[in-house]
Every structure is written in structure tokens, then in C-alpha cells.
Amino acid sequence: MSVRSVAREAYEEALPALGMSLVGGLLAGVMLGGMEAELTAVPGLLVAVPALLATRGNVYGSLGARLSTGLHQGLVEPRVELGDERLRGATAAALANGLLASVVAAVAVFAILTALGDEVAGVGTLVAVSLVAGLLSGVALTVVVVLVVFAGYRRGRDPDTLVGPVVTTTGDVVGVASLLVAVRLVLALGGGG
């Protein structure tokens, strides 16, 4: 194959999925752009944003990959059964690890900004926002990933190729939306300083 044909094939294969995740990223960006007030009210929150968004991708992308592999190997059945131990274990592990990483990110941001002498919200506020956001986005992304992987598999699609674009597209939108809800909730309940 010539360089040109390799490049053309790679370009055409990637464009639809990338285009889709762009739309998701722009929607997430518009929400983030509208969060000026919240970002100002909770100093340090912006510093935590990349870590919180990346955790969604890392944890739920990995959940999707695990479920895909499990389906291919016949370890899990492509239907939602709460009694299924493997499905329960995989989703519970994703939620637990996602929450843990979110809290670690919040505490790290607080510690680093404090050490640098920068303005930063209370550690309780940052942890509360991260936890609530992590929980909301975790539940939403678990549902999305499980449904898309199972539905895709039952329709004869390779779930491995579905997981990446779906997680990156919904992960950003769900991630920023849950952050917005979480920060408003925590501010309304009196956090902030």
C-alpha cells in the first residue's frame, strides 16, 4: 500500500467518530463557558476539571472494554441482570474507582494550590463537588456504556469499536453537566468558602 492510500483509509475511518466526539466536546464546552460564576465562586475547581473529565474516560472506557472482552469470551451475557455477579462486580468497581480518583484529584488540587499560596476553596467543598459529580456521571455513564455495549453486541456490531467514541462523546457532556449540577447543589447547601 502506498502512503497516500494508507493516509486516505485512516482519515476516512477516523473522521465520523472524531466528528461525533467533537459535537459532544463543543456541548461540554458551552456548558463550561456558562460556568463562569461557579468557577469564580469555587476557586480551584477549574484546576480539577481535566482530572475529573479524564477519570470519566479512563474508568468508563475501561468498563466498556472489559464488558466487550467479557462478551467475546462468553463470560457475561448481553442482557442486564442485576444478579449477574460479573456485571455487578465490573460496574461496582468502575463506580468505586471513579469516585476514589475524583476525591484524590480534589484533595491534590487543594493541597497543591494551598502549597503554592494560590486562592482555593475549602477542601470540603472541592471534595463534595467531586463526589457528587463523580456519582452522577458514574451512574449515567454506567447505564450508557452497559446499554450501548450490550445492544451493539446483540445487533452484531463489535462492541470494541463502539465503546471509544461513545465514551468520549457522552463522557465530556455528562462530565461537565454533572459538575454543573454538583457545584450548584453544593453552593446552594452552603459550601463555597
Binding site: R8, L18, S21, L26, G29, L53, A54, A92
Partner: protein, 186 residues
């Protein structure tokens, strides 16, 4: 069975890498925090943040998974004249050149409709395109180096390269956006 599907087993496999990547992302957050004043002054730039980070990571992970597959099939050699390598690298840059002007125009238009534009359309498109091209080149370099290192150490590139590349490109996304904003906006 190689995978243990319990919370404990999955956590043991996942948590160390996850925490390292979380700290790397906190590092990119600190870069983001260092130009928070500009981002809040021009929210259109804030709109660009998730999409720039996400697209950079996606470009890297798509390239990484294609190189991994070529590597598993034995059709990849690490030389600049290798057609797979050169073709995929060109495609990555071409994708960035196609998509990032759309990102910039989209971010500007959405922000103009929803909140009113404080930056000119041309500026936002320029910031987006310049970031995109720089990121595509960096994504190619990072991916090729990471795939090569995995290959040298006998690791399966699928396991190692994709998370490393995705998170590295996330960080580079913020750093590049920061540099480009310094160049063209401030």
C-alpha cells in the same frame, strides 16, 4: 480465565494507573488554572477547552490503536519511510486541519448565540487551528515513541500505549492551548 471480575481484582489492576493518570491530569489542570483570568474574560476560550483536550486525546488514541494493530499483524516497522507510519501520521495531521477550524467556528457561533462574542471569529478559528496542528504533530510523536518503547520492552501496545497516549495528549492539549492563547489573544 485471566481477568478477575471482582471489585477487588479490578481495583488492583486499575487503581495504580488511574491514580498516576489523575495526578498527571491535575498537572494539566494547574496549567489551565494559570490562565484562568483570560479564560474567564473570554469564555469562548473556555468553550474550546474540553473539545481541544478531547480531540487531542482521540487523535492520539486512534493513531495508537491503528499502530498497535499494524504492529500485531507484523506490518509495521519503525522507520520514517514505513508507509503505515507515514500514512497514519499524515492522516492525523489532515484530520486536525479538517476538524479544528470547525471546532473554532462552532465554539465562536455557540458562544455568540448564547452569551455574545467577545473575540473575533477569525481569532477563535486561528487559535483552534494553530492548536490543532501543533497537537496533531505532538500526538504523532508521542504515539510513535510510546509504541516504540512498548515494543522494545516486549509489552502489548494495546495495554500500555492507549492510556499513556490519551492522557499525555490531554495534558499537551492544555499546554498547547495555553501557548497559542498567549501568542494570539493576549
Amino acid at each position: 480465565m485471566t481477568t478477575d471480575w471482582t471489585v477487588r481484582g479490578i481495583t488492583r489492576a486499575m487503581l495504580p494507573v488511574l491514580l498516576v493518570m489523575t495526578m498527571v491530569e491535575v498537572g494539566s489542570g494547574l496549567v489551565l488554572g494559570s490562565f484562568e483570568a483570560e479564560l474567564l474574560q473570554y469564555p469562548t476560550l473556555l468553550v474550546l477547552v474540553p473539545v481541544t483536550i478531547g480531540t487531542a486525546g482521540n487523535l492520539g488514541s486512534i493513531l495508537a490503536s491503528r499502530l498497535s494493530t499494524a504492529f500485531h499483524l507484523g506490518t509495521l516497522s519503525f522507520s520514517p519511510s514505513d508507509e503505515k507510519l507515514a500514512g497514519n501520521a499524515i492522516a492525523t495531521v489532515a484530520l486536525a486541519v479538517t476538524l479544528f477550524p470547525v471546532v473554532g467556528a462552532g465554539a465562536w457561533a455557540l458562544q455568540a448565540v448564547l452569551a455574545g462574542a467577545r473575540l473575533a471569529l477569525g481569532t477563535v478559528v486561528l487559535v483552534s487551528l494553530a492548536s490543532g496542528i501543533a497537537l496533531a504533530v505532538l500526538a504523532v510523536l508521542v504515539t510513535v515513541v510510546a509504541t516504540y518503547i512498548a515494543y522494545t520492552f516486549g509489552l502489548d501496545p494495546d495495554d500500555v500505549v492507549i492510556p499513556v497516549v490519551t492522557n499525555t495528549c490531554d495534558v499537551l492539549g492544555v499546554v498547547v492551548l495555553f501557548s497559542v492563547v498567549q501568542l494570539f489573544v493576549i
